[in-house]
Amino acid sequence: MEILFIIITLIITAFLNAFIKRKLVIEFFSIIAFSVALFESVVIALKVSISGIYSPFVFFSVDSLGVIVMLIIACVGFIATIYSIQYLRQETAKGIIGFTRVRQYFVLLNIFMTAMFLSITANNPVFAWIFIEATTLSTAFLISFYNKPSAIEAAWKYLIINSIGLLLGFFGTILYFTSVSSLGENGFVSWESLLANATHLDPLIAKIAFIFVLIGYGTKVGLVPMHTWKPDAYSKTPNPIGALLSGALLPVAFIVILKFKNLTDMAIGPQFSQNLLIIFGTLSIAVASLIMFNNKNYKRLLAYSSIENAGVMALGFGFGGLAIFATTLHLIYHSLVKGVMFFSSGNLLLKYNSDKINNIKGALDVVPFTSILFIAGFLIVTGVPPFGIFLTKMQILSVGIEINPIITIMALFFMTLVFIGFLKHITSMFFSQKPEDIEVGEGNIWLIIPPMILLIIIIVLSFYIPPFLLTLINDVVSHY
């Protein structure tokens, strides 16, 4: 029932927001809806940690990995909503947007969240596809939110590239249905029934299907070379949505790939899918690190960081074994830290009115709390000790060095390059001389608290993993 409660609450809130004429009420309803989603997600997570699976109806099923991503969506979504309220108020005060835009934002945000929750819980691959496509449709207008030519261009690229990718993913999805001789009850084929029949899948069809799925959903994840929409979309969308695209949508699409990987592995063994994930993962890390070095826009920098981390995750699941534990943790850390970075970069944008790295000078003097948050985010995301991502990257690489030393050394080299490239921009933005004409001081405390909460969660999780979460991660290791 919990999942239905989440979905119904979000849908009703989206519907109500579309008609409410008072901004305060829209904000209040959204906070309530996302609180409900967070609370119910925790309840579901506890249930899954005990029983291994949550499936209240035939249409919904969540396993351990699904519920981890569900928690991420709920947590980042809730914090993003709190941040969005103040962020949009500041933009309204500056005359960048009006009430209609704010209303549109919260309607689309609720629809986007609904689509993500449904994608993650759908017990049928085609349903999962439908809802992932729905995330594209709900976010397209959030990317073109500011109605500038560059935003329209970014949204168009996003719509076209993702639609093509998802159609190819759909074709791959359909091919997996060749393993089931007839459709199940009411024509419903669940992930479980596909897994049970996966051994009947023709090996060559399994290979072709996985390639299509990896290209299709990999587009949504942002794996190279299907990543081209990502820097454009991330740089043009409002910052809280950037946090959700990177922190929540990326794992949602990734999880679908992993579910299909399971089916493929059952049909032809793990070698094929692992090799593909390693290739795409390494390519993503390499390309992102090279482009990040000469980046001119800090929001695009965050997009390339997401591509790099998607590559790390692909590499981790490609290596398999012990790396899966580390990769699952990496997925959690990355989602949370991207929230910190997108929110603090939103504060920079509000202060400097520019997303160009060259226009941000002396930020540490101008917005000290925001700067500390952004720098902490940089240290975490690039894998500096003692934060969790350092350990996850090291663990993935230590597994990799036994399986494929050349790829692992290459990955390590490019990860180092990411750190150097990022550091170069950080130095220029935060440790330089501040402009004379800029007013010193943070915008509002509610622009600081949301990223601060996420940062505290990451630091805690770097040193202590709650038992229920540990159970879930161990369960992921045994199933993926």
Binding site: N124, V126, F127, I130, E133, A134, L137, A140, F141, S144, N147, P149, S150, I152, E153, A154, A155, W156, K157, L159, I160, S163, I164, L167, F170, F171, I174, L175, F177, T178, L183, N186, G187, F188, D202, L204, I205, I208, P231, D232, S235, K236, I291, N294, N295, K296, N297, R300
Partner: protein, 215 residues
């Protein structure tokens, strides 16, 4: 419906995609997509007559309403609203485009794709043609500079996948088909809104003019 009739319908689908590559007028492209979708809905209607499965009839009707009527009507309204009579050019010239079309068609019929086209042995030729239609639709999206052509290319790709699923016996249940059609309908509306926005902001549907975003 016998296999020859089905083959004829699929050949029309394939032909419409080639026509989409060649035509220079948006109005003709919209009509061509309508014709292509009509063939898909006829295939679904024929499946209904063969199996007496009422859900297939419902799906066929849904396809007919959304793809054969609504989509072309939306496109034609858009073309008239913005006087977009002529589509913008292609990246490759016509002879080169035709050479690539031939190559892709040959490629789809090659033994490399035998596992896909052999899902149902009796339909191997049809599956190869559906696969070729998919490749050509993808090429259409890549080769065309016009936003409207790109949208039609994506919808054509979706039609080709539907044709493939019909001949591979992989049609989905009514509920899933309804979900897919609903998605496509919403996608269509959003894409058309974006086309209007592109025209308003850039004064053309030529996507090569959209070059604000670079690293």
């Amino acid at each position: 419906m016998n296999i020859l009739n089905l083959q004829f319908l699929l050949e029309i689908v394939f032909g419409t995609i080639i026509f989409l590559h060649i035509t220079k007028k948006n109005f003709e492209a919209a009509l061509s997509y309508g014709l292509q979708s009509l063939m898909i809905s006829v295939m679904l209607f024929s499946s209904f007559f063969e199996t007496s499965n009422v859900s297939l009839l419902f799906i066929a009707l849904l396809v007919f309403i959304v793809k054969v009527i609504l989509a072309p009507v939306f496109f034609i309204k858009l073309i008239r609203q913005h006087a977009l009579m002529f589509s913008v050019s292609t990246y490759l010239n016509t002879p080169l485009t035709l050479i690539i079309i031939a190559t892709l068609t040959f490629f789809a019929h090659s033994p490399k794709f035998a596992p896909l086209t052999g899902i149902i042995q009796a339909n191997q030729a049809l599956l190869s043609l559906a696969l070729a239609s998919m490749f050509l639709s993808l090429f259409l999206i890549i080769n065309r500079k016009g936003a409207l052509s790109q949208i039609i290319g994506i919808l054509s790709l979706e039609n080709s996948i539907v044709a493939f699923t019909i001949f591979a016996g992989l049609e989905q249940s009514l509920m899933l088909q309804f979900g897919i059609m609903f998605n496509i309908f919403i996608w269509l509306i959003i894409a058309i809104i974006f086309i209007s926005m592109i025209y308003r902001y850039f004064g053309t549907l030529n996507v090569t003019t959209m070059n604000n975003l670079k690293d």
